[in-house]
Symmetry: none
Subunit: 153 residues, 2 copies
Amino acid sequence: MGKSNAHTIDRERARFSGFLAKSGKRVSQGREVIFNQVMRSHGHFTAEELVKACAQKKLDVSRPTVFRVLHDLLEAGIIRETAFGDKHRHFEHVYDEKPHHHAQCVRCHGFIEFPDRKEDEVYHPFLEKQGFKILGHEMHFYGICKACGNKES
Amino acid sequence: MGKSNAHTIDRERARFSGFLAKSGKRVSQGREVIFNQVMRSHGHFTAEELVKACAQKKLDVSRPTVFRVLHDLLEAGIIRETAFGDKHRHFEHVYDEKPHHHAQCVRCHGFIEFPDRKEDEVYHPFLEKQGFKILGHEMHFYGICKACGNKES
DNA sequence: ATCCCTGCAAATCGTTTGCAAGAGC
DNA sequence: GCTCTTGCAAACGATTTGCAGGGAT
């Protein structure tokens, strides 16, 4: 869908600024740095990867700041957490990703991605009735991938 | 789907024994106790809940043993991890699952459950074509729950 | 006798928080 | 000046591991 061009990033930046303003928070240096780094990332990434990426570029952000800003980005709807049963949380930004889901292999933990088809909207009324404000969703299949299935059983 | 009758449990137990034998591990007391407790559990459960449940019944298993056996069960394909972006891992057994989904609050991490409506079957052909053998699925919404949303913007 | 299992206590690791100094409005 | 931000170090909580004793085969 959207390419990661300047225009899309500006839109996301505006969304972030808007969210921050609304929450009485500021567009601080740490938020700038991490926002940029996140926008430069592709696919999924972890907090630790951001920390390292920033350190490598001599961008001055501490680990706690990374976590704090990730939390902001999450609430602002700029990124989302992907649902892996893993110790590290994985994130990805929303803007340049077609909504997609994951099918994860219970053996090798590898996963397949596949596109969203909007069927999830069936659930929206239910959640809205509960006063739950939806930021995003992910469908997560469990099973055994081709490679693992071929090995045995 | 299947009811948790003796037959199904026996099949799972056999699967577990088979896995253990194949791995050069024994059907020890700790594994017995935790296997049984897991089969008795409904919905999702955490390692901590198992520890407590066992303690309450005066079943003698230490925390490390619970984790060790959970790992065995995971590898054996008896249980799986459910996808929460949470610090605690959640598990549920595979054999008696009622398909359902979750909506989780990014602030308090509480979640709402809601039933499956079979719309996910739209995705099956795609995954099957990839040779991915589906064991189950979970749709995971994230957002802000009513309580958290009311506290402030 | 050997190998596996287990509990204890200590270690790990990702993440969070208290606090005091610094920066922006 | 008040408020938000940040880094540091310490705290935290779930999970893991080293090790020594006990059991099973």
